[in-house]
Every structure is written in C-alpha cells, then in structure tokens.
C-alpha cells in the first residue's frame, strides 16, 4: 500500500525536519488557530454535529489546549485522519497536536518520534459479537472472521491473542470506524475488534444494540492519550499540563460553572489557587499567562464533566468510569500535581 510507504518515508523525513520545528507555540499563536489531529468520526470521541461543530471527548482536549494557548476553545482546526495517516500528519507539521483514540506504545514514542501526553482514557481491546452466535468467551472465537482497523495497535494484539491461544482467524481489514460498523452490520465479519471504548460507541450505533454483546475478555492495555512531535519541549509541556489541569480540576471540584468564581480571587485551597493562577505564576513556566488553566476549564469543564457529556452513562455510548475514575474514587486516573 502506497500510503504506508509514504507514512514510513514521512516519518523518516521528519527526522531531518525536526530541527525546524521548535516554536510550535509561536506558530500556533501567529496562526491564531490550533491544528488538532482527530479521527474521521467516532461517536462520543470526535465527530461533527449538524452545524459542522466538532464535539466529543477527544475534541474537548483539543479545545482545552486551544483555550489555554489562544484564549478561545473555538479556534481549532480539526484534521480528520485514519489510523494510518495520523502520525504522518502530525510529524509533517500539518497538525500541532493529536487526540485520536491513540495508544501510547514504545515504538510510537521512540521510533515515530512522538511525545505522549498523560493518559486521558485507560482502555483495552475487546470483541463485539452478535448474541445469536451464542459465543460467550473470546477463547471460543477459533475460525471467526474479524473486522480490524489497519494501522492500529489492535492488529498486533489480535495476532498475539490468537497465537497464544492456538486459534486461527480471518482478518477483514478496514480503514475507518464507520467502515467497521458498516461491514459488521452487513455480516461481512462475525466479530469487530477495537478498543472497548470504540466498541461501546459502535454498539450504540447498531440498529439493535441489545442483539450484540461485548465479550468479557479485554486482551490488551490501551492507554489512550494525546501526542505531540518530538523536538519541542515547551509545546509538549503546555499540552501535558493542560491535560493534567483538566484532570486535577475534577479532583479539586472546579467545574466550568464555578471556575470563574474561583479564579476571581484567591480562596483558601492553595491547590486551586495555584491551578487557577490566583497564587504564584505557574503559567509563566510554560510560556503562558496566569489564567491558562482557568480558560481551559471554562471552555470544556473538568474531566468528569467532559466524560459525562460525551461518553458517560447518560449518553448513548454509556461508558462507566471504571478504571478512569479519579484515584480518589478508586480509579487509576492520577495526574501529577501542579506546584
């Protein structure tokens, strides 16, 4: 496939271009717009609504960064990418930052030269299957035909899982999640496999969600997070601390609704004061002003707000917090402190 070759070539070339790519912050501010690499459309994570406005959990993080850096969560250009093109687009400089259901792995970090941001969703690969097939465990999938998205970590996980369990399968390669849904609902594959979060969003999309189940086995670790290019530490720091700020805001009970009030004057919680810049000047350390975090939070809310609005139990996606609950509530979402 030519695209893959180009992706490889692009990644290789990015080595040489790296030196020229410091100063992302200045570029973004001069442009007045953040270029954010997202999916071609995964319900709840990133998709345009009927007015062309992008919404979703990943989209919120793009907007938070834009709000911190540019003062306006709307000043984002969304660059839709497939599993294969996403890193090339980021590395070539067409995107400034990536939030695209992307798993942090060693090879992506070191070989593709990405700097990963803190994990914003702990995920794992699962299987979606029709109930009527009567299969209740992934161990019984021998010989199944499986829809799988090319260019993703899920390909290798799947091969590993079947090899370890001495089973065989027939892969049906697809490019985008939408293709996955179409193929799966047209019975061209027995099983659709991808991140469990993606499966939940896929299941919500099917004609009769109750006729399908997600098998209990989760066969991999998929820590999903944003990423930026190697070579611009300041930009990586900004992006990283915006993500942390969103997570910390939940821990501290700062919401989109009350952030203005908290940010107006220093209160008696020093953590909140530091987060919102009413005490000390944390923003200056990353090249921003004092209100950077306050702007990000007022644009999209804290982690819990964004989660509940886009993918939480009250949405059609209906994901529970699970592992992604704050560490205070028994989850593993744990952001480094701002101090």
């Amino acid at each position: 496939m030519r695209v893959t070759q180009f992706a490889a070539l692009g990644a290789a070339l990015s080595l040489t271009a790296m030196t020229a790519q410091a100063g992302t912050l200045e570029d973004v501010q001069a442009r007045g717009e953040l270029n954010c690499v997202v999916t071609t459309g995964v319900a709840g994570f990133a998709a345009p609504d009927e007015n062309g406005k992008w919404t979703g959990f990943d989209v919120d993080f793009c907007r938070a960064v834009a709000a911190a850096v540019l003062g306006d969560g709307e000043k984002v250009k969304f660059v839709p990418t497939t599993g294969k093109t996403r890193f090339t687009v980021l590395n070539s400089g067409e995107g400034d930052i990536l939030f695209r259901n992307t798993t942090e792995t060693m090879s992506r970090d070191a070989d593709l030269k990405l700097t990963f941001l803190p994990v914003n969703y702990y995920d794992g690969q699962g299987f979606l299957i029709r109930k009527e097939l009567g299969i209740n465990s992934a161990k019984d999938l021998d010989g199944a035909s499986i829809c799988i998205q090319t260019g993703t970590t899920t390909e290798l996980n799947l091969a590993d899982f079947f090899r370890v369990n001495g089973m065989s399968y027939e892969p049906v390669a697809i490019e985008t999640n939408e293709e996955g849904i179409t193929n799966y609902s047209a019975n061209r594959c027995d099983v659709y496999t991808t991140d469990a979060s993606g499966l939940a969003s896929t299941r919500a999309a099917l004609d009769d969600p109750s006729a399908h189940i997600i098998l209990p086995e989760i066969i991999s670790k998929e820590p999903l997070g944003g990423a930026v290019r190697h070579g611009d530490d300041q930009w990586a720091d900004i992006s990283k601390w915006v993500v942390n700020a969103i997570i910390i805001a939940e821990e501290l009970g700062v919401t989109a609704a009350n952030v203005a009030e908290h940010a107006a004057a220093a209160g008696d919680n020093p953590s909140i004061n530091r987060l919102l810049g009413t005490e000390g000047d944390m923003g200056a350390m990353i090249g921003l002003d004092k209100d950077w975090a306050a702007r990000a939070i007022s644009a999209v809310g804290n982690y819990a707000e964004s989660f509940d609005r886009n993918i939480g139990p009250d949405t059609p996606i209906g994901l529970a917090r699970g592992l992604n609950a704050s560490w205070k509530d028994g989850g593993i979402l744990y952001a480094a402190p701002i101090r």
Binding site: F6, Q21, T85, T88, V89, I181, P316, I317
Partner: protein, 380 residues
C-alpha cells in the same frame, strides 16, 4: 381534376388512383406500434426472450422493495434514528435533511453561507454561455466567464471587505464543486499545451512534456495528494504556510492535465498529415495553424475522451478525505458517527451517489449533445 373523376364515373374495376402511382399504404400493423417494438426489441430471438423474462423477474424482485424502502416506507421527518424507526421501516431521510446544510456547505461559517449561494448562481450564469453558443449576449457572457473565477475566489475566500474564510472550512458539495470545476477549467488548456509540447520539434520542450506526462500517469492521485498535504512542508522553507486547498487544486489540475494531454494527443494523431501540410502551404505559422486548423479538428475527435477525464477528475475529488478535507462522502461518514443517527449508512451513500450521478450524467449528456452538434462527416 379529371383524374379524380375517374373513380366516380368509371366502373368499379377502375382503381381510384392513376395507374402506376399507387399511394403508399400504411405499414403492416404488426411492424409498428408497441407490439412491434416489443417483438423487435424484447422477443426477437430465443436468447432474447430468456433475457427478457429474466430481467422482468429481476425487476420484479428488486424494484418494489427498493421503492418501498426509498419512498413508501421511508421517514422524512424525525429528530433522530429512533424517531424514524418508530414510524417507518424504510429509509430515514430525516437524517439527510437535518444534515443537508453540512453536506452542502461543509464547515463554512453559517452567517457567510450566502456567499456560497451567490457564487453558485454566478457559476451558472458564467457556464451557460460557454456551454451553449445560442445564448443571448454570449460575448458578454464569455467575458463574464473569464472573470468569474476571480469573483468566486474572492466571494468564497473573502478579504477585500468580506470576512476572510479559511479554506479548510470548505467541505461537502461546495468543496467538490470548487475542486472539480477548478480542475476541469485549468486542466484542459494545460493538457492542450502538454499534448502540443509532446509533439513539438523542440527537444527540450518535448522531453519536459513527455517526462511530466509519464510521471503523472505513473503515480496514483492519492499519492500526489499525500505528497501535497504532508511531504511538501519538508521541501518548503519552515514557516511558509501554503494553503492546503490550493495545494490540492494544483495537484488535481496537474494530474488531470497529464491524462488530458494523452487524450488530446490521440486526437492530434488522428488528423491526417495532409491537414498539417495544407496549413503550412497556406503560409500559416505554428500557432495560427494549430488554432485554426489542427486543434478544432483534434478537440472535436477527443470530446468523449476529454469528458471522460473530466468525469474521472470529478469523482476523484472524493480522495481529498485522506488529507483531512471532508467532501460529501467524508461528511457522510463523519455524520454517521453521531449517536443520534448512526447506522444509516445506506441513506448516506445513496444520497452522495445521487449527487455524483446527477453531475456526471449531465456531463456525459452534454458531451453527446456537443458531439452531435459538431458532427460534420457522415455517420459510420
């Protein structure tokens, strides 16, 4: 008048026409009318009869359910998929109507969409005099058509008094039209030049044209687009911001110009050598002889091929999805992941297919019309 009197006055044996001048009788009734048509076209041989029966069976199986799905069982209003499902089992067109604006304008700012509409109206005004030579005031129309691209560019992109709209906000049908029409308008002249260059006696020009054409024909468009979107930034000095849509327009134009050149070369090669020699003998220099003698004939022969290339180009615009621009297909796919509407992919694909079908069918009909109009030889 005497002739007519013959029948009245003469014996019954006398025919009522002049001998030897029998008027034409109507054709036998079994060779005209619907019955004959059916016999000739549907039942003319055993193989034909079988085919007819099979087709009728096929239509009987396919048509009623499709029509049911598309119209009689379809829901046209409703606020989400479940609302559609509640009232009808067929298509859920409410989805398309809710997203119609997104399909049409992409992400173009709502308050500025009148500019897209206006450009479209002007486009129609500009295109009519080009297409039909009987248009009243055609001369002024053609002048208008020459300046139209600049007016449309200004309207769509803004600046000089209008709010600027970044081109990445383009999407949907308007994106297809912008890319398709720009490609069509510029690839034809470029293709003509390349085709002439390929035949040139000047070695440098010839080598340049041949290598350009062969390069373009040797690389898939998707690769060129990929190069345009991601690799170009490696070759340009850092910090230059080269509009993405502009890069796409250039690539698409170059790509179809390469194909166009070969189509036109076919036309050029079909012109008898005598025509070139005759124009030389008339004392015409290179350009006049091309313009007056060779190209009119060559282009006429090439019309089907040219239109073919246009249609190909128009449909290739869907490839812009890989560089992150959302054409109608991309908009459709992205819309499908709205939880309100997911799972309605048939509706989306059918709708987009209809759009492309209408545009492409119009183009091919026009090409037939043009061929007939320019027809001068005897039909073979």
């Amino acid at each position: 008048m005497e002739k007519n009197n013959l029948s009245a006055t003469g014996s019954t044996m006398k025919p009522d026409y002049v001998i030897g001048e029998h008027p034409d009788l109507p054709p036998p009734s079994n060779t005209i009318g619907p019955i004959a048509w059916i016999r000739d076209n549907l039942l003319s041989s055993p193989a034909n009869i079988v085919m007819t029966i099979l087709s009728i069976f096929f239509l009987y199986k396919i048509l009623p359910p499709s029509l049911d799905w598309m119209f009689f069982d379809a829901a046209f209003v409703g606020e989400d998929r479940n609302a559609c499902r509640a009232v009808a089992d067929g298509a859920c067109w409410a989805f398309i109507s809710e997203r119609f604006k997104l399909f049409t304008y992409g992400f173009y700012p709502i308050e500025n969409r009148w500019r897209v509409d206006l450009s479209f109206v002007l486009l129609v005004i500009a295109v009519i005099p080009i297409l039909f030579d009987k248009t009243p005031f055609r001369k002024y129309g053609l002048w208008f058509a020459m300046v139209f691209p600049f007016i449309a560019g200004w309207l769509l992109v803004g600046g000089f008094g209008l709010d600027p709209v970044p081109t990445e906000k383009f999407g949907g049908f308007m994106l297809t039209l912008v890319v398709g029409i720009t490609g069509i308008a510029f690839s034809l002249p470029l293709g003509i030049l390349l085709a002439l260059g390929r035949q040139s006696n000047l070695p440098i020009i010839k080598v340049f044209c041949v290598s350009f054409i062969e390069f373009i024909r040797g690389v898939p468009l998707i690769t060129l687009l990929f190069v345009a979107s991601t690799m170009l930034s490696y070759f340009l000095p850092p910090g230059t911001n080269f509009d993405l849509l502009l890069r796409v327009l250039i690539m698409v134009t170059l790509f179809s110009a390469g194909y166009m050149a070969e189509v036109i070369r076919g036309g050029l090669q079909a012109i008898p050598k005598g025509q070139f020699e005759a124009s030389d003998a008339m004392g015409l220099k290179y350009w006049p002889s091309m313009r007056l003698i060779v190209l009119p004939q060559a282009l006429k022969i090439s019309i089907p091929g040219i239109v073919n290339t246009f249609i190909g180009l128009y449909k290739d615009t869907t490839l812009v999805i890989i560089i992150g621009l959302l054409d109608p297909l991309g908009i459709g796919r992205a819309s499908l992941s709205d939880t309100k509407w997911t799972g309605l992919s048939n509706e989306v694909y059918l709708f987009v297919a209809l759009f492309f079908f209408v545009s492409c069918f119009a183009m091919s009909r026009y090409s037939l019309y043009l061929e007939n109009k320019l027809q001068t030889e005897h039909r073979r």
